[in-house]
């Protein structure tokens, strides 16, 4: 085995025709290893002696190398080999992984990723077949230097027999197409409905027949468990996203010469796989904002008597059928007066309007709020935050922000656990049932006549403990004749849209139910934007899910901003 890294680097020429399938598998496998290497390296930065992680990163490089050798991807093979040797010395305690060496590993990993990305691009046809050449430069020598730092040269290249014994402790997992999972969830949903119909049919008999009653109860239990399990198949820990952020903070802080520490909590909190993927982007944006503009320079912090290193906390936890992700920095915080002044200037708020802190902070999510601003010491705060809000709202979640000058800012994302299911409040209007996502419901109450006032031609308002919020008659919106003749006979459901509230007048509340969200199709969707989807209710019928943000064009008066203006 040649352990000296190469100087002249041959390009990789892929033989897509004969190796296509193998390469595909190699790419998929490699991505997992790249992930593992990155996470491992970051962990080793804090705990350089952790034997398990050392082994695991070593094994990843080793497998990387093996596959590359088999597929004749020479530069990858050599690169992985060099890094593997470095890890091997570390796990034999012949050297310690200091920051420089960790950096080397991460850089090596990034180069490997570039190779894999390019191979992937050619496999998927995104890039034309061409020789792949990624300049490695002096990297080989750097590894060599890093290895000789403390030990006797690179003679300690790993013995293949020894590594063969290190069987990868791969978790027993199976990859399944999501469409199969979806149809499983569909079927189980139907099974639950069928089961409840059968149980209903036999209620009378079951009372007289304990055996039947027992069997029905057993069937109900098994069906419920089956549903729970089938829904949990899509759940993964949020860990992956958090780890990505660790790397981002590390790199950003280094680039800006700031000292920033990221603490994560609740890595194991599980949520829908799709959601994890969709969450990565907005979170990245917010992390960037926090490092860029939230955390001050070390000198400025020291001058304020704060610790030199800024602290960013990333927390995830389950709460009330949803998930809460919090991003908290201990930086300079938001400047309330400046934001309000800017909002007034841009016509987002009426001059002299009395707004709560929350409402003022919410202006940073307005589209274009930051770009057209001259205020410089807020610079960047708000860049792309409208995109963050839109993304989160698309995921049927909401963003809350609070901040104290000099003490930092807290962003709180409240999200459903999954995109596939919502906890819905089922309301009735004139014999029809509609579903409102419970996450958006603040409260509901029966209004008294005097709580409702009409503004001529500008819609109705309801007085909610001194705060006037717009009221929408759902029946009127949907062209359904409500059973309740006057609002005082109905119920008002207060829903949150952005920073403002809306009251929806319905006939009554039916119940709360977890429903699997289904697409209603384009034919419906393009004609009525306020239908977010549909779900199958307990009796097998379809209930429509209301998109409260799109519902009704509201009177733009009274300082209540809506999604439409």
């Amino acid at each position: 085995m040649n352990s000296s890294p190469p100087d002249a680097q041959p390009p990789i020429v892929l033989n897509l025709a004969s190796d296509g399938e193998l390469l595909k598998e190699y790419v998929i496998e490699s991505r997992e290893h790249l992930n593992n290497i990155e996470q491992g390296a970051l962990f080793l930065e804090e705990h350089p002696q952790d034997a398990d992680t050392l082994h695991s990163v070593f094994r990843s490089f080793h497998t990387f190398k093996g596959g590359a050798g088999f597929l004749n991807l020479v530069p990858i093979n050599q690169l992985a080999h060099g890094l593997e040797s470095l890890l091997d010395l570390a796990r034999q305690h012949k050297l310690t992984l200091d920051a420089e060496r960790i950096d080397l590993i991460l850089r090596g990993r990034d180069m490997l990723k570039q190779f894999i990305d390019q191979i992937d691009a050619q496999l998927t046809g995104a890039a034309p077949p061409a020789p792949i050449l990624i300049p490695i430069g002096d990297f080989g020598r750097e590894i060599q230097a890093a290895m000789t730092g403390e030990s006797k040269a690179s003679s300690a290249s790993p013995a293949p027999e020894a590594t063969a014994a290190a069987v990868p402790a791969a978790a027993a997992t199976v990859k399944v197409e999501t469409s199969k999972l979806d149809s499983l969830v569909d079927m189980v949903g139907e099974l639950v409905i069928a089961q409840s119909l059968v149980t209903q049919d036999f209620i009378a008999e079951a009372a007289a027949n304990p055996r039947l009653a027992r069997n029905l109860a057993q069937m109900a239990r098994v069906t419920r468990d089956l549903q729970r399990v089938s829904l949990s198949l899509r759940m993964v820990p949020i860990q992956g996203v958090f780890q990505k952020m660790t790397r981002v903070v590390r790199d950003l802080a280094a680039r800006q010469d700031k000292e920033v520490q990221l603490l994560t909590e609740g890595d194991q909190t599980e949520l829908d796989r799709n959601l994890v993927e969709e969450l990565a982007d907005p979170l990245l944006h917010m992390i960037r904002n926090a490092v860029d503009h939230g955390i001050e320079s070390a000198a400025a912090r020291a001058a304020q008597g704060k610790p030199r290193a800024g602290l960013i906390r990333l927390r995830a936890r389950h709460q009330g059928g949803g998930i809460v992700v919090e991003l908290q920095d201990d930086g300079q915080g938001l400047d309330k007066e400046r934001i309000l002044a800017k909002a007034v200037e841009q016509g987002l708020a009426a001059p002299g309007a009395k707004l709560s802190d929350e409402e003022i902070f919410h202006f940073i999510f307005a589209p274009g709020f930051s770009t057209a601003r001259e205020v410089t010491d807020l610079s960047g705060r708000g860049v792309g935050l409208d995109v963050v809000r839109r993304n989160i709202e698309r995921l049927r979640g909401r963003v809350e922000v609070s901040s104290a000058p000099g003490q930092g800012t807290l962003f709180k994302l409240v999200l459903p656990l999954t995109l596939a299911i919502i906890d819905g409040l089922i309301v009735t209007v004139g014999g029809q049932r509609y579903i409102i996502p419970t996450l958006l419901v603040r409260e509901s109450f029966r209004p008294r006549r005097e709580m409702i006032s009409t503004l001529q031609g500008r819609g109705e308002l309801v007085n909610l403990r001194g705060r006037l919020i717009p009221m929408l008659r759902l029946g009127e919106q949907f062209g359904v004749q409500p059973a309740a003749g006057s609002p005082a006979e109905g119920i008002i459901v207060v829903v949150q849209t952005g920073a403002s509230l809306k009251g929806l007048l319905v006939d009554g509340l039916s119940h709360r139910q977890e429903v699997v969200i289904k697409n209603v199709g384009q034919m419906i969707r393009q004609r009525n934007a306020s239908i977010a989807g549909a779900a199958i209710l307990g009796d097998g019928r379809v209930g429509l899910i209301i998109d409260v943000n799109a519902l009704g064009s509201l009177p733009a008066a009274l300082g209540e901003r809506t999604a439409n203006n």
Partner: protein
């Protein structure tokens, strides 16, 4: 409905020989290509959707899938007859540019039979000038003494997808 220019020459019939499912709508007999038919179900509870035109009846639960149901009578401006026990929903799957194979239910008065049509049975849709919108017809088939109107489902459903509100 868009105003049509009467002077434009019509494209000739696109109906191909093959098997067609025929059904009754307002006393007339219609046919659709059998390959587009997925199943025929008994009328089930239709959930009306707000702000839809009259011919979109609503949505139904087809074994866990949610599909829209069209009332072709309303679509073609035929009078709605009293509901009868032969009514059913024909579930069709049509590939459009907007979606690959979306399921749609068609409410019909009664399903008749599956017929085989040869080239000689099919005639192009006659010209009616501007009095009749024939864009959604593939052609006319003669089966013995009766006439079946062959529908262009691709176009009917494709138009539904693109409809501007």
């Amino acid at each position: 409905m868009k105003a049509q220019d009467c002077s434009i020459a019509r494209t000739p019939s696109a109906a191909r020989p093959g098997k067609y499912l025929t059904f009754v709508l307002g006393g007339e007999s219609y046919g659709i290509g059998i390959l587009q038919v997925r199943e025929i179900i008994r009328p089930t509870a239709i959930t009306p959707v707000p702000q839809m035109p009259p011919h979109i009846q609503g949505v139904i639960n087809l074994r866990g899938k949610i599909i829209p149901v069209l009332d072709l009578r309303a679509r073609f401006g035929l009078a709605a007859p009293a509901a009868n026990d032969r009514s059913c929903i024909v579930v069709v799957q049509v590939k459009t540019t907007e979606s690959a194979g979306m399921l749609t239910g068609l409410l019909v008065d009664a399903v008749e039979e599956v017929i085989s049509l040869a080239d000689k049975d099919i005639e192009a849709t006659p010209e009616f000038g501007c009095r009749l919108d024939t864009r959604h017809l593939l052609g006319i088939a003669k089966v013995g003494p009766t006439v079946k109107i062959l529908l262009d489902l691709d176009r009917i459903l494709g138009d539904e997808m693109r409809a501007q509100v």
